[in-house]
């Protein structure tokens, strides 16, 4: 095995993961845990109980100033002024061609906006914001001092509640609050009912020096540490896009099936291109597929009537469905149930177009 000289970044929880004998992987320059015990165990634990993820590599910005709402409204696809304090929204940064620079969540706080972006795009995103910054807008990148612990699964609320003053029953999906923990007082903290697993759960943003204590507390109360491997299979079952794979600067929200994130009654960067695309219809469509046998992987060809009609962008074995599942772009509209072939290990495998997501939790 070749030794790399590259110095990988470590999150404040790195030594906790070492203690648990995690396997690590280079993820966008970060030395991140990919497996603690087993992806299958970790995946199923999140579906049936609750799992704990270190997502401290993600990027966090604070956008403040009197023009911050207008500024973010221009740079994202969401209705930013319509967000109330304590509400969060999944949205996109688009370039002038309507391509997706990144997907993100904007949290409206009383006096500013908290913005969470993908680790791999952090610097690019911040430059993009700086480039378009106008008077009355302040930008702060707090990524290096902020940790993110995602606590996901049907039992997450039950375990978290006794540690908090606030009533979690009143915290709705995509809402957040400033938590008052009974065992720690972080300098900075946001508790949001958001996640990347398709399960109920929370994302806890805290100042770095509080991360280890919160991580250890939740582990001691029965949460299981989960790695990026399970995070990927969970998000794919929930058909949530992964930037750099299912969505990129060369794909638009119309093609990616993310039209629902667009608030049309405003002006924003990229609007003209995607508006036209929406009216004319896009040339490709991000669709979900289930295979009879075999596991599709990124770049596998999608075939209809012996012709290549597209490529897989994300594929995995679904621990819940026990089948191969994938997302991929195809160059034509196909109805749910339509049979196609996907090339896996140079052999055509029977696959079916299915409705997204692959997995939906019972509410």
């Amino acid at each position: 095995m070749q030794k790399t000289e590259k110095k990988l970044k470590q999150t404040p929880l790195y030594h906790e993961h070492k203690k648990l004998n995690a396997r690590f992987v280079d993820f966008g320059g970060w030395d991140m845990p990919v497996i603690f015990t087993s992806i299958l165990d970790e995946h199923n634990t999140v579906r049936n109980n609750c799992g704990l993820f270190d997502a401290s590599h993600m990027g966090e910005f604070i956008v403040s100033g009197k023009n911050s709402a207008d500024f973010l409204n221009k740079l994202t696809t969401a209705n930013i002024p319509g967000l109330k304090t304590g509400e969060a929204k999944y949205t996109l940064f688009l370039n002038e061609n309507g391509g997706i620079i990144d997907d993100l969540i904007v949290y409206r706080r009383e006096n500013d906006f908290f913005v969470v972006v993908n680790a791999a795009n952090l610097e690019k995103d911040f430059s993009w914001l700086q480039k378009h910054k106008s008077e009355g807008v302040n930008l702060e990148n707090i990524s290096d001092k902020t940790s993110l612990i995602a606590f996901q699964g049907p039992n997450a609320e039950k375990i978290l509640q006794p540690l908090l003053k606030e009533d979690l029953k009143k915290l709705n999906y995509f809402n957040f609050l400033k938590p008052s923990f009974n065992f720690i007082s972080p300098q900075f903290a946001i508790l949001a009912r958001t996640g990347y697993t398709g399960e109920d759960g929370f994302e806890i943003f805290v100042s770095n020096d509080s991360a280890v204590q919160i991580w250890q507390k939740l582990l001691s109360l029965g949460a299981k540490a989960c790695g990026l491997g399970a995070r990927d299979s969970l998000r794919l079952e929930a058909a949530m896009s992964l930037h750099g794979h299912d969505i990129t600067e060369n794909t638009t929200p119309i093609e990616a099936g993310l039209s629902w994130t667009i608030y049309w009654d405003k002006d924003f960067i990229g609007k003209n291109v995607i508006k036209e695309q929406k009216e004319k219809g896009p040339a490709r469509f991000l669709k979900a597929f289930i295979l009879e046998t075999g596991i599709p992987r990124e770049n596998c060809d999608i075939i209809l009537d012996s012709k290549i009609i597209g490529k897989v962008t994300s594929g995995t074995f679904s621990p819940t469905l026990k089948k191969g599942i994938c997302l991929g772009y195809i160059n034509q509209k196909l109805d749910t149930g339509k049979e196609v072939k996907i090339m896996v290990h140079n052999q055509p495998r029977a696959a079916k177009v299915v409705k997204k997501p692959f997995y939906k939790r019972h509410r």
Partner: protein
Amino acid sequence: MSNIPKDLRYTKTHEWAKKENGKIRVGITDHAQHEITDVVHVELPQVGKSVEKGASACVIESVKSAFDIYSPVSGKIAQVNDTVTNSPELVNSSPYEQGYLFVIEPSKPEEFEQLLSGEDYEQTVKNQ
């Protein structure tokens, strides 16, 4: 330390081989199954297919990745272990017994003698 039975022969790519009545039974080592983690799918070769020593003969998949399994010797696939198609986890729990992959009718029987001994394989694993 992983389990390396001394009565088997090995490849540097972590397959094991066992001679039985002139045929060669093949699987992956305990070390390999541990590195792959949960085996969730096995793509077995077809019976009768010709295989080359050192060429991919079969694919084992975890949730995240696919791993090529290389044939330790040249020959024809004489038999495959269909049990692992429905119970791929046997490759993890019993890599040397119930989780074997296939049996080869060797075309160059001398190739078997060139495979690593248990001691040599143990050294290979240590050096990686």
